[in-house]
């Protein structure tokens, strides 16, 4: 009686998807072994738990490995690039009109704008080149921060705080390079809507970004980041195809959350991150990535069983 109960409890470790077909076979095999004195209850219960964990891990790994990552990366190329443009225009060295905006900032923004335009037009090589150029200032910043080279690290003023360039853009920048590499070639006429969106965002960010007051900008950023995260989760939960939709949403939420959370952290705490990727930005980034993975796992069927 107790043996059956213990084995049944241990058998709960098996993934729900395999329980109906494999559960009774493994359970009865364990029962045979115990009844014949070949094994003990504890050993068999432990074996069942171990088997369940192994099957769950394998299922989770194949879900993640088999996810439509290429499609997801291609789908986020334009939103991610636009987000970068908007952030880095808003975080322009000030005053924009009267002073030298900074070489690294110009390289970053120039690379991003050309990458975004090329993604909208479906020109893969230019998109890749632009996103790589945008990574150069990030690499320089990391190099300087590591104490390996001369020069000053690149922190850009944003509202009342400072936004560390490499901390906020290293991971999204790498993701943008991957996304740009996978961007689908498009016919120019069909790309017109995307081009309009790009131009609108760039113009609005250029006009509005540096002029917005610190308090208004901070409030907008926090609202946007919370809204984007909540929106991403809602879309992930409602995704009609469990894995495809969730993967895309998960990656999108994580990608959008990284710079936005670093940005929101810088504004909300009005702090200067002395060590690049500050604890707030890091916590936000990790949180966003986890959120994306949870979105993926929730829709991944086997993962949540």
């Amino acid at each position: 009686m107790i043996t059956d109960w213990l084995l049944r409890v241990a058998g709960r470790a098996l993934p729900a998807s395999r329980r109906p077909s494999d559960g009774p076979v493994v359970h009865d095999c364990a029962r045979d072994m115990i009844d014949d004195g070949h094994s003990s209850i504890i050993r068999e219960a432990g074996g069942l738990i171990w088997l369940g964990l192994a099957w769950r891990t394998n299922a989770a790994w194949s879900e993640v490995r088999g996810g439509p990552w290429r499609g997801a990366a291609a789908a986020i190329a334009l939103p991610l690039g636009l987000l970068g443009v908007a952030i880095w225009i808003a975080a322009a060295p000030q005053p924009v009109g009267g002073g030298w905006p900074g070489l690294w900032w110009m390289a970053l923004l120039g690379g991003l704008v050309s990458a975004v335009a090329a993604i909208a037009l479906g020109h893969q090589r230019t998109a890749l080149a632009g996103s790589l150029v945008a990574l150069v200032p990030v690499a320089h910043d990391l190099w300087v921060q590591a104490g390996a080279g001369p020069g000053a690290r690149v922190d850009l003023p944003l509202a009342d705080g400072w936004l560390p360039l490499s901390g906020a853009w290293a991971l999204p920048g790498v993701l943008l390079v991957v996304a740009a590499r996978l961007t689908p070639r498009r016919d120019l006429r069909r790309a017109s809507a995307r081009v309009t969106v790009v131009v609108t965002v760039v113009v609005l960010a250029t006009i509005g970004g540096p002029a917005i007051s610190a308090a208004a900008l901070g409030a907008t950023v926090v609202t946007l980041s919370v809204g984007a995260t909540a929106g991403g989760v809602l879309v992930a939960r409602a995704a009609p195809t469990h894995l495809g939709g969730a993967s895309r949403c998960g990656v999108l939420v994580a990608a959008a959350g990284l710079p936005v959370s670093a940005w929101a952290g810088a504004v909300a705490w009005s702090a200067h991150f002395d060590h690049g990727l500050g604890p707030i930005g890091l916590a936000g980034a990790v949180g966003a990535v986890l959120l994306g993975l949870v979105g993926l796992a929730r829709r991944g069927g086997n993962l949540s069983n």
């Binding site: 494999d22 493994v26 095999c29 364990a30 029962r31 070949h38 068999e44 432990g46 069942l48 171990w50």
Partner: protein, 110 residues
Amino acid sequence: MSATITEPTYYTLAALLDGPLHGYAIARKAHELSAGRVRLSAGTLYGALTRLTERGLVAIDHQEIVDGRNRRYHRLTDAGRQTLKLEAGRMVEAAAIVMRHHARPAGGTA
């Protein structure tokens, strides 16, 4: 390929040489063949059988209920038989090296 076969896996495959067996019978036979060294629990055994099935070395033969208990029979595939043979050959060669060394008189120069 052979290097990835662990001792429990080797004896699990070897247990199926004479024909299809159900889980507990495989575990018992592996225990006998290995002179008591390999003692598989149901969890470990079915984990191994799942992997071997995925690799095409073992296949499910049939399933039945005997005395109210579910029994799934597995059989060795041709690929499984071949892998087992290669692994056995490899072990014979590996053992021969050591045995030849021991057969030589101590301090001898060949």
